[in-house]
Symmetry: C2
Subunit: 340 residues, 2 copies
């Protein structure tokens, strides 16, 4: 009918260290779109609902040959609703998730942009943002890593870093369901309270408490779920039990300092027969993942937390805060409600 604003978050410059709001990523409110007349060319017109701001998106800001392009919208996992469709996979009103959703209000997506399309059923009417959080990639990461690599046995001891984050908070709850003792660290008192509410047995603020002392007292560690790498990985190696497993899921501690912290205890891998599993989530969401988690979330037996940013104007701020560890929980940019 008429041209309306189509706000976008634009990648503006490569960051040296931490991404800076208003410099690395800027908001562009000048672009417009006609929702009725825009050509689809076999694609779909979608309205973005929710965007996921994840630590790993930092890796898309470093390489000119792959990742974000200067002057183009940033992207990441997101949820959208279909407004018009010329693609047989999607019909008007469908909600879906893809891992490379453009950071703009409205997008025409071609077939190849729908590569890892997940149409969402949501039988328990959970908030759509859960499908990029505990029911999205972070939740699947916790679920797969725990299922494939933990080899957890009742009574064993788990240590998880970033335990208040979207992955760590589910790892804590999966470990408690399996009967483990859980030691969890995070960087603020608010996060400690959240981890306590999830049932973690020993929680501490790594900024004010010595990790090595806690692990020496409460360990040895049978399973270390590593979300941070660097010194914490080194300390966990030095406090690992014989035949410990390390699930290496993220090394955010090195993303913004060129991995400058050297490790000195990795030889313990041989001495203590440690297995380290570096892994990326599969992006193949099995039915049992939803069937297990959705009712538990609906009942409130499995909990999650979100740190919500409102509108695409705040993508740059959200990216920066995620990298600096300044968020409380899973970072979500809420772009729009379902109706339009």
């Amino acid at each position: 009918m008429a041209l309306i604003t189509n706000g976008r978050a634009i990648f503006n410059s490569y960051p040296g260290g931490f991404p800076e709001p208003g410099k690395t990523i800027i908001y562009d409110g000048k672009s417009t779109i006609d929702l009725d007349l825009v050509s689809l060319n076999g694609g779909v017109l979608v309205k973005t609902l929710e965007l996921s701001i994840d630590p790993y998106l930092r890796t898309l800001m470093s390489q000119p040959t792959m990742g974000y392009k200067i002057g183009r919208p940033t992207y990441g996992p997101g949820i959208a609703v279909v407004l018009r469709s010329e693609n047989e996979k999607l019909k008007v009103g469908d909600k879906f998730r893809i891992s490379m959703m453009p950071h703009q209000q409205y997008s025409v997506l071609k077939e190849e942009q729908l590569g890892d399309l997940n149409i969402l059923k949501n039988p328990y009417n959970l908030p759509w943002s859960t499908f990029i959080g505990i029911l999205g990639m972070p939740g699947l990461t916790a679920y797969e890593g725990w299922r494939y690599y933990s080899k957890a046995k009742k009574g064993e001891i788990l240590f998880v870093s970033s335990g208040a984050g979207p992955i760590g908070s589910l790892v804590i709850q999966l470990a408690k369901l399996d009967g483990l003792k859980v030691i969890a660290s995070a960087g603020s008192d608010e996060k400690i309270k959240f981890m306590d509410s999830l049932g973690a047995d020993v929680t501490f603020n790594y900024k004010t408490t010595n990790t090595a002392e806690v692990l020496a007292k409460e360990g040895p560690v049978d399973i270390y779920w590593d979300n941070v790498g660097g010194e914490t990985l080194d300390t966990a190696s030095a406090n690992a039990n014989i035949c410990a497993r390390v699930i290496a899921c993220g090394m955010i501690s090195g993303y913004n300092n060129n991995h400058a912290t050297p490790l000195r205890n990795i030889w313990q891998v041989v001495a203590r027969q440690i297995h380290i599993f570096g892994f990326h989530v599969s992006n193949q969401y099995p039915n049992e993942f939803y069937e297990f988690l959705e009712p538990e979330i609906a009942k409130g037996d499995i909990k999650y937390a979100e740190d919500r940013f409102l509108g695409l104007e705040n993508v740059g701020e959200a990216m920066s805060r995620v990298q600096r560890g300044l968020i409380k929980a899973k970072a979500v940019v809420h772009v729009a409600d379902e109706a339009h």
Copy 2:
């Protein structure tokens, strides 16, 4: 009938860095034994034939609470023949292997010292020393590590450090049997020639050739068999393929310098989804291990090499040279021939 000399290698002092011959371990030729009259008290009298001098024995020289005792004989994997027996498991003439054979000519062994007893059949009449080398713990280490953790696929690329050693040399041959491209490093031209004779595709002397340059050109590495740790492990991590496997079998590079070389590329574990398997050999020798290797060795299709030291007088020298990387191949102390 009469007292005869029972020579012994004695642990004399804790080494600070490398063990020193004549200081860390000394030879004692003053002890005697009467082979006919010595009391067995339910045990066995044995004559030592062959002793294995392994890198890991260094770990027995560091801790007062466990490991070698000052003034007592050192010990390690060895082969002996039974001279007299009051133990129903062993009869006169049996040859057997245990992992804690005292470093002396003759020993009376109690039941508890026979804990991991292996009576050896040797149907192909191979030299007894093979049963502490390619048919002993080093060979079993290569066999188990390769079988359990390599997940080798034809056409993949293996990098093995210490490729001329008793473990590495069998790893090279197992990898070639599985159709892999093999990159192997060692520290002398003589070792390079040996690795070439085993069929390794790319061999280099790490003392004169830059490991990173070789791996950048000949890699990326799908499987890294790590016998050394430290800088080489770090370099292999930086040149690993996606989903690479690291079989971490020894970290000799750090044994004598308190593991002072820091690692800077371990974050690649997440980025490249690397799995690192620290492991110790099981000490459970399966029949198929012998059934596979013995005929291949007898035919000469699988090769091995030894660096032989003669007599218990040379245990200290052998220990030192093993730790300093000054031996050509599997270090064996030949103590006696089978007849007495």
